[in-house]
Amino acid sequence: MRVLPGRFVLGVAVVTVPLVIALLGPVFAGPPPAREASFTEGAGHWFGTDFVGRDVWYQVLHGGRPVVLTALAATVLAYLVALPLGLAGALTQRHLVEELLLRPLDVLLAVPSLLMILLVATVLSPGTVGLALLVAVVNVPDAARLVRATATEIAARPAVEALRMQGETWWRIAVGHIGRSMLRTVTADAGTRLTGVLYLVATAAFLGVGAAPDAADWAVMVDRNRTGLLVQPWAVVVPALLIVALTTGTNLLFDAALDKRGRGPGGTSVREA
């Protein structure tokens, strides 16, 4: 696999703008400007006003944080569940335990992720926290699978055999050796997963799940301001471009990082798609 040297730089460049706006935007936004007529251009507003007459730029500054934070929280949560599950599944000596832990996840993999989210949204109308939890749950089966596969491979190595014969404790072998050895593979996977999670979080918000209909959220802005696309395209185009930059940049960045140190210990390739 050739490493394109520019890709990392490009990824950083592309992801910086949306990330800075998302994280620091609310700090620099200041007080909300007065409301005016909906879908106007100019008149002291950089990007005009939105569907209820709010300043688009002000909304943009506030709208990135929910997307980014929800996605990060969901990724972390997914691993908090997947890591112990996968490790336990890989290290147990009893076949039955492994089957009990991991077979249900195989079955869950069959349900399309967005369908799962929409199903729950029908009965519960989750908020931002609910959406993060949901997206995390949807990601657990696949992440646990990867953790198990990686851990199984490492657990079969001579070094682990030696540790076991020395009489080291289970904890030391599982966490101290195997856990540490698979850190790279797992970080790489977390990067790819974050891109998928960003996609899901944004799409769910666009479809009206996990965000209030008038929330300052890039995806919600795209959805709600679509009605004025003909008169005032900025209210849609600016958040849409920021989402494109955020997802594209994250993907470029992690792909480049993966290329550089993606070969996990023992030469196992991580890029098994």
């Binding site: 394109l4 890709r7 869950l108 992720s113 369908l115 929409l118 997802t247």
Partner: protein, 317 residues
């Protein structure tokens, strides 16, 4: 062939378990409702008559397992239940909205496979050269972009600024094939993500296959380059791609829901979202079962095909 047969048997078993799990999961939905399900579903208009109507419609007086058996038995006969809001059978909803969704999905898949394989092989053939770099970078960049953001930008440029294509499918009913212009943008948006993943997989697989000893051997024997590429290397490169193709059905489903909303196409995705918004549980459940079963069956088929293409690979089952 007994290896294939036992593999298929095991894979079928998993498929059946997955379908059972989907049915159970979807059924569990009404059970997950907080408090009294009928009151929760009545939502904004909690008048007693409506609550009572919902209670009878969902048969909430009967124990859960009885309802599950009744519902599952109905599913086997193609009876998906009745809508809470309109009183129409869910199967009718499906029948009405099936056409546009199938058209979108079929068109997408029909274009996806040739485009993905051709671009992937092209990139692999010129590995490291500008063509490859261009294809690799663009696919990598577009791969992660949500359909709604891409779609809205395409609409702004090609429909509103340039005026080449209609911005939505409004006013064409379900007969979209008569207005092919309407389909261009939705299919493009639907294609974007799956094509990227397919191209990358085919490219990686082809590069591996072309570097393998058997390809070198065939070339030494004087077998022509094209023959080696398409008859020997390509089948091996396709095995992982076929599986990914089935995984893309998951994406395609997400994509269809978004694209139908974006372009106002009266398909299954629109029906599903409408039902979610109105908390029309039977409609959501019926659609979810259909979508879930389709996903399971397609994944199953893909695993079997992938196993046939590269029996060594040991496809998960």
């Amino acid at each position: 062939m007994s290896g294939l047969r036992s593999f298929v048997a095991r894979r079928l078993l998993l498929g059946v378990a997955q379908i059972a799990a989907v049915v159970l999961l979807v059924f569990a939905l009404t059970e997950a409702l907080p408090g009294d399900a009928a009151v929760a579903l009545a939502g904004d208009q909690p008048d007693p008559a409506r609550i009572e109507a919902i209670r009878t419609a969902l048969e909430l007086d009967r124990p859960a397992w009885e309802r599950l058996v009744h519902w599952a038995a109905g599913l086997l006969h193609g009876d998906l239940g009745t809508s809470l809001t309109s009183g129409r059978p869910v199967a009718r909803y499906l029948a009405d909205a099936f056409g546009p969704t199938l058209l979108l999905a079929a068109l997408t898949v029909a274009l996806l496979v040739p485009a993905g394989v051709a671009l992937g092989v092209l990139a692999a053939r010129y590995e490291g050269r500008p063509v490859d770099r261009l294809i690799s970078s663009v696919t990598l960049a577009v791969y992660a972009v949500p359909e709604f953001a891409l779609g809205v930008l395409l609409v702004t440029v090609f429909a509103l600024r340039l005026g080449w294509l209609p911005p939505t499918a409004v006013g064409h009913g379900t007969d979209l094939l008569a207005h092919p212009g309407v389909l261009v943008l939705p299919v493009l948006v639907l294609l974007a993500r799956p094509v990227c993943s397919l191209v990358r997989l085919v490219r990686a697989g082809m590069i591996d296959a072309l570097a393998s000893p058997y390809v070198a051997h065939a070339l030494r024997y004087g077998v022509s380059g094209a023959r080696v590429r398409y008859l020997h290397a390509l089948p091996h490169a396709l095995a992982p791609a076929v599986q990914q193709l089935a995984r893309t059905i998951d994406w395609l489903l997400c994509g269809v829901v978004v694209v139908e909303t974006l372009f106002v196409v009266p398909g299954l995705g629109t029906v599903l979202l409408g039902a979610v918004a109105e908390r029309d549980v039977p409609v959501v459940q019926g659609l979810a079962v259909v979508f879930g079963v389709v996903t399971v069956v397609l994944n199953l088929g893909a695993d079997v095909i992938a196993h046939r293409l590269a029996p060594r690979a040991g496809v998960a089952a």
